[in-house]
Symmetry: C2
Subunit: 125 residues, 2 copies
């Protein structure tokens, strides 16, 4: 499979991203085809740059305190189709093509598979 295309962000776009006191910004990951929200994880300025350059999601693991290349061992990689930053610059949204079993470490497509109440199960796949 060829490398996914990189996203060439401008310096102004990268400067618009606001990081918290720990140097982190939350990144929402959405399935580009179905629109399903898959997960949320955290990025540093370095992993934002890596995600855009490599065209796959790279996060910061807050528990392990290290760079986390999503799917590096599991194969559940996420190829980035588009990236957006919000009006305040303090939240990111990436639309991806999910590979492997799904986004969740439980093997489900989405991490949001537990409803409040007796509502719909969001994990339809």
């Amino acid at each position: 499979m060829p490398d996914p295309p990189a996203i060439k962000a401008t310096p102004e776009q990268l400067d618009a991203v606001v990081y918290d006191a720990d140097g982190l910004v939350p990144a929402i990951i959405q399935d580009d085809e179905t629109g399903q929200v898959l997960m949320l994880a955290w990025m540093t300025a370095e992993t934002v740059a890596l995600t855009l350059a490599e065209g796959r999601t790279v996060f910061w693991s807050r528990s392990r305190r290290e760079i986390w290349r999503k799917g590096e061992t599991s194969g559940d990689r996420q190829l980035v189709r588009s990236g957006h930053y919000d009006c305040d610059g303090d939240v990111l949204l990436f639309r991806v093509q999910q590979q492997g079993r799904g986004a969740c470490h439980t093997g489900r497509m989405s991490c949001f598979h537990r409803p409040f109440g007796s509502g719909r199960n969001e994990d339809r796949q």
Copy 2:
């Protein structure tokens, strides 16, 4: 318009939500009809309970340090159709019916209207 239905979460579901050191949990807001990701804001245990009880989104404003009933003055209210918590319990996802102009204070439907690179504009509406 009649009151939106409340979501009756169980004590076990509410106990599964994990709050950070500031007592906050991020909540992703998604348009229930189109699947568009509209915004992310923060909730306390109190505003999670209010959101579920009232069937509309209620957040915690970190800047104003007060409860923020989304759309209370603007009319851009969000009626909750479903709520989910993720596998770690530390992120929430609400699917909503967006009222008014949209979710963003700029008047756009989504807060994620600025792409990295020359990518698609996510705010299609």
